[in-house]
C-alpha cells in the first residue's frame, strides 16, 4: 500500500500554550528597574559609584559563571539573576567603598549566598544581603564610611578610599569629605538621628540628596521603579506593601508614645535602606513565602523588625538583618499558612 508521507508530529503534554513572563523576562525587567536607581547613584556620587557598581556586578557574574559551570549547571548567566544580585549589592554599599572589598562582597554573595545552596531557586537568603552581611562584619569601618552627595568634582575625581589596594587599610575619608563640604558630619540621616538626635528634612530623603549607600538615597525613584515592576506583575506588590505598612505602623506607635525621642513615621519610611529593601530585596521571590497569608505575615514581620532594630539595636540600620531573618523564617511561615483548599471540609479534620 502506498502510504502518504507522514508529516512530522510534535508530542508535548498539555497545556500546549503558556503565559508570559518567563524567568528570563522577569529577571531582565528587575535589572531594567534597577538601572535608573544605579544611574541616579552615579549622578549623585560620581565615578566612584560607577566603578563600584561595575566591579561588584562583574564579580557576581564571574563567580556565577565559574561556579555554575563547575557544578555542571551550564551557563546560567542568561537567566539574569546574577546581574540582579550584583546591582542590588552595589547599591547597598557606601559609594566610596573600596573596589576590592566590593569584589569580595560580590564573590561571597554568589558563592556563599547562592551557588552553595544549589543556584537560582534554591537559595535560602537573598544573595545580595548575604554578601553585604559578610562585608559588614569583615570591614566594619569601610562600610560605615559615608561621603556627601552631589560633590562638584565627583565626575573627575575618585573618592580616595575607592582605589585602596587589597588588604591595605583604606585612607581615612572623613578629612577629605570635610574639605569638600564643610558641614559634612560623615553620617547618614539615620545615624544622625540615632547618635546625634538630628532629623533630616523628609523631602530631602524623598528626593535623595543625602549621604547614604549608593542606591538607597532616593525613596521616590526606588518607589517608581518598584511600581513599574509590580505593574508588570514581575514583583509581588503585597510584600513591599506589607513591609512598609509594618514599619509605618510600628514607627507610628512609638512616635505617638514619645514624639520627642522618636522620629516621624515618614522619616522611618524614607530613610536608610528600607525602601530599597522592601521593594527589591524582601520581594525576592526565591526567599519569600508563596502562600497568600504567608506573604503578608512575612512582609509585616520584616517591617516591624526593621524599626525595632533601628530603635533598640546597636546599629542605625536594621533592614538587612530584618530581611535575612524574614528569609530564614519564610519556610516556617509558609508551613503554617497553607491555603484552605476548595471544598475542604469545615470540621477541621485533615483528610
Amino acid at each position: 500500500m502506498n502510504k502518504p508521507q507522514q508529516p512530522h508530529i510534535e508530542l508535548r503534554t498539555s497545556p500546549h500554550i503558556k503565559a508570559a513572563p518567563t524567568v528570563e523576562q522577569i529577571m531582565r525587567n528587575v535589572v531594567y528597574a534597577l538601572l535608573p536607581i544605579a544611574a541616579f547613584a552615579v549622578w549623585q556620587f560620581g565615578i566612584s559609584a560607577l566603578a563600584l557598581i561595575l566591579v561588584v556586578t562583574a564579580s557576581c557574574l564571574a563567580t556565577e559563571y565559574v561556579f555554575s559551570r563547575s557544578a555542571g549547571r551550564g551557563n546560567t548567566l542568561s537567566d539574569w539573576s546574577a546581574a540582579i544580585t550584583g546591582l542590588l549589592l552595589a547599591l547597598t554599599l557606601p559609594p566610596g567603598f573600596p573596589l576590592w572589598m566590593g569584589a569580595v562582597a560580590g564573590f561571597i554573595a554568589i558563592a556563599l549566598g547562592k551557588t552553595l545552596f544549589g543556584g537560582l531557586g534554591y537559595n535560602v537568603f537573598n544573595p545580595a544581603l548575604v554578601g553585604r552581611a559578610f562585608v559588614q562584619a569583615a570591614f566594619p569601618v569601610a562600610i560605615t564610611t559615608w561621603t556627601p552627595a552631589g560633590l562638584p568634582g565627583r565626575f573627575v575625581e575618585f573618592i580616595p578610599a575607592t582605589l585602596a589596594l587589597p588588604f591595605m587599610t583604606p585612607p581615612v575619608v572623613s578629612e577629605w569629605s570635610k574639605q569638600q563640604v564643610d558641614s559634612f558630619s560623615g553620617a547618614t540621616p539615620l545615624a544622625q538621628w540615632k547618635f546625634e538626635g538630628v532629623i533630616t528634612n523628609t523631602s530631602d530623603l524623598f528626593t535623595g540628596m543625602v549621604a547614604g549607600s549608593a542606591g538607597e538615597t532616593s525613596a521616590l525613584l526606588i518607589l517608581l521603579c518598584g511600581i513599574y515592576l509590580a505593574a508588570r506583575r514581575m514583583m509581588d506588590w503585597r510584600i513591599p506593601t506589607a513591609v512598609l505598612l509594618g514599619a509605618f505602623v510600628t514607627a507610628l506607635v512609638f512616635y505617638l508614645l514619645n514624639d520627642q525621642h522618636y522620629p516621624t513615621p515618614l522619616f522611618v519610611l524614607f530613610s536608610g535602606g528600607l525602601m530599597l529593601g522592601a521593594l527589591f530585596m524582601a520581594s525576592d521571590m526565591v526567599a519569600s513565602p508563596v502562600t497568600p497569608w504567608g506573604v503578608w505575615i512575612y512582609g509585616l514581620f520584616i517591617g516591624v523588625l526593621t524599626v525595632i532594630i533601628r530603635y533598640f539595636g546597636g546599629l542605625s540600620e536594621g533592614v538587612m538583618y530584618a530581611i535575612l531573618l524574614g528569609n530564614a523564617l519564610s519556610p516556617l511561615i509558609e508551613h503554617i499558612t497553607q491555603p484552605r483548599i476548595y471544598g475542604a471540609r469545615k470540621s477541621g479534620v485533615k483528610s
Partner: protein
C-alpha cells in the same frame, strides 16, 4: 471569595486568562464534513467499561445501527457512524497513546448515508428510570471532553436531593467554539434536552452558565426559554477554567463541592450544553450518537471552522479536508489547555473530542522554553482554582514523595486544569508531574 463576586459578577477565585483565539471560528456556522472512506469506532471512548461488539468482520452495517452494546451500567453502546461493511475489529491508535480495540468500518461510497435505525419514543410517557435507560441506549457521553457516560451522571445517588441543574456553556478552552455554535444554532434542542434532564434528576430549576464573551449565544438561548421561568441563562466571567464543574457551581451558586465528593451532595447536577443538545435531539427520535460538532482551528489550519463530524473519522481525513500546512506541527485533540497531542493522524474523532487544534512549528518553538528551577514566585499558587499549593507539590514530585503530596498537600483534589503549568515562568511541567504522581499512587493502591 474573589473581589468580583462582591460586585455581583458570577465567578470563582483564582484561575487564569489565556488569549481566547476564538475569532477565527466563533462566527462560522456548523457545516457537515463528508464521510471518510474508513471509520474507526473505538470500543472505549468513554470513561468506564469498554463496549462489547455485536457485529462480525465482513458484516454489513447501516448508519445508526447498534454495533457494540454497553457492558454493564458504567458503559455505553456504540452505533455505526456510516453505512458500510465491518472491515476489522482490531487494535487502533488512540489519542491517549496506547492502541485500543476498535471496530473499523469501510464506508460504502455510493450510499446516501440515511439514518434508518431509529425507534421514536413518546417522551412524555417515560418515567425518570426509563429516561436514564433511554439515555444509555443513545450511547451519549459528556461531549465537553470528559466523556463520562451521561446516563450515569443523570442517575442521582440515593438520598441526594437535586435542586438545580447547571448547564455548562462556558467553553473556557481557547480556540474551541463548538458549544458556542451549538448554543447559537440549536437552542430548541438544548432547551428540550435540559427539560428531559431536569425531569430525570428532579430539579425544579436549571441555570445555563455561559461565559460573558459569548453574548450572541446568551441572546440566542433567551429566545427559546420556556415561559414558566424554570430555565435561566446567566453570564459568568470569561476565565479559565470557568467550565470546570466545580468552578461553575461556585460561580453560579456560591456553593463548594466537598473535597472528594460529588456535586449531587450539594444538590447540583452539571451537564455540558453540547451533551444536553444531543440529548434533546436523540432521545425522542431514538437514535444513537453517531456524530458530533468539532472545532477545527489553530494557525496550522487553512479552513478553520465548526464541523459536524461522524464519530470515527480519522484525523488525517479531517485535516486533509480543512487543509493543513507545514511539515512540522502538533495536532491536539481537545483544547490547548487540557487536550492531548496525538502521535498519529490515524487517531479517530471520538465522542469526547471537542476540537482539533493544529499548531505549526513557529508556535511550537515559541512555547518550547528552557526549564529553570522553581523560583518560588507563587504564580501557580495564585492561579490554582482548587487553592492547592502547586509550588510545594512540584518540589515534592521532583523528590518522588508522592504519598506526602497526597496526604498533606491534597494531590487528589487537583483537577488537572493546567493553570499552574500555564503561568509557570520556569516552564516546569507541574500538571504533568501531578498526573504522573496520581497514576503512580493509583498503581500502588491497586
Amino acid at each position: 471569595m474573589t473581589l468580583l463576586r462582591w460586585f455581583g459578577r458570577k465567578t470563582f477565585s483564582h484561575g487564569v486568562h489565556p488569549q481566547a483565539h476564538k475569532e477565527d471560528t466563533a462566527d462560522k456556522p456548523i457545516r457537515r464534513l463528508p464521510f471518510a472512506p474508513r471509520m474507526v469506532v473505538p470500543l472505549a471512548q468513554h470513561l468506564g467499561k469498554p463496549s462489547r461488539p455485536i457485529v462480525k468482520v465482513g458484516e454489513e452495517v447501516g448508519r445508526g445501527q447498534l454495533i457494540a452494546e454497553a457492558d454493564g451500567f458504567m458503559s455505553v453502546p456504540q452505533h455505526a457512524p456510516a453505512t458500510g461493511v465491518v472491515e476489522a475489529i482490531t487494535l487502533m491508535p488512540s489519542a491517549q497513546g496506547p492502541r485500543v480495540p476498535a471496530i473499523v468500518i469501510r464506508v460504502y461510497e455510493a450510499s446516501n448515508q440515511e439514518v434508518l435505525w431509529r425507534t421514536p419514543r413518546d417522551m412524555d410517557a417515560l418515567t425518570p428510570e426509563q429516561i436514564v435507560q433511554a439515555v444509555q441506549d443513545t450511547g451519549l457521553v459528556g461531549l465537553g471532553g470528559a466523556a463520562f457516560p451521561s446516563h450515569v451522571k443523570l442517575k442521582v445517588p440515593a438520598g441526594a436531593v437535586i435542586d438545580t441543574l447547571i448547564v455548562n456553556g462556558c467553553e473556557c478552552e481557547p480556540y474551541l467554539t463548538t458549544d458556542h455554535r451549538v448554543m447559537v444554532e440549536q437552542g430548541p434542542d438544548l432547551i428540550r434536552g435540559t427539560q428531559y434532564a431536569m425531569r430525570v434528576v428532579g430539579a425544579k430549576r436549571a441555570i445555563i452558565g455561559v461565559e460573558d464573551n459569548k453574548p450572541d449565544a446568551i441572546a440566542a438561548i433567551r429566545q427559546h426559554l420556556p415561559a414558566d421561568g424554570s430555565i435561566s441563562v446567566e453570564a459568568v466571567e470569561t476565565k479559565y477554567p470557568q467550565g470546570a464543574e466545580k468552578m461553575l457551581i461556585t460561580s453560579l451558586l456560591g456553593r463548594e463541592v466537598p473535597s472528594g465528593g460529588l456535586p449531587a451532595q450539594i444538590g447540583v447536577v452539571v451537564n455540558n450544553v453540547g451533551t444536553l443538545t444531543a440529548l434533546g435531539r436523540l432521545l425522542p427520535r431514538g437514535e444513537g450518537l453517531i456524530e458530533r460538532v468539532i472545532t477545527v482551528a489553530g494557525p496550522g489550519v487553512k479552513k478553520p471552522g465548526n464541523y459536524l463530524v461522524p464519530i470515527g473519522t480519522p484525523l488525517r481525513f479531517l485535516l486533509n479536508y480543512v487543509g493543513f500546512s507545514g511539515s512540522e506541527q502538533e495536532v491536539i485533540l481537545g483544547g490547548p489547555m487540557m487536550g492531548n497531542a496525538v502521535s498519529s493522524l490515524d487517531v479517530p474523532v471520538t465522542k469526547g473530542s471537542s476540537g482539533v487544534l493544529v499548531l505549526s512549528s513557529s508556535e511550537i518553538q515559541a512555547e518550547t522554553r528552557r526549564i529553570h528551577p522553581c523560583i518560588k514566585c507563587g504564580k501557580c499558587v495564585a492561579a490554582c482554582p482548587m487553592h492547592l499549593n502547586p509550588t510545594q507539590l512540584g518540589l515534592l514530585a521532583a523528590k518522588r514523595e508522592y504519598e506526602v503530596m497526597a496526604e498533606r498537600f491534597h494531590l487528589k483534589d487537583c483537577i488537572e486544569c493546567g493553570c499552574c503549568s500555564f503561568v509557570c515562568p520556569s516552564s516546569i511541567p507541574l500538571v504533568q508531574y501531578f498526573r504522573i504522581a496520581k497514576s503512580i499512587l493509583r498503581e500502588r493502591a491497586a
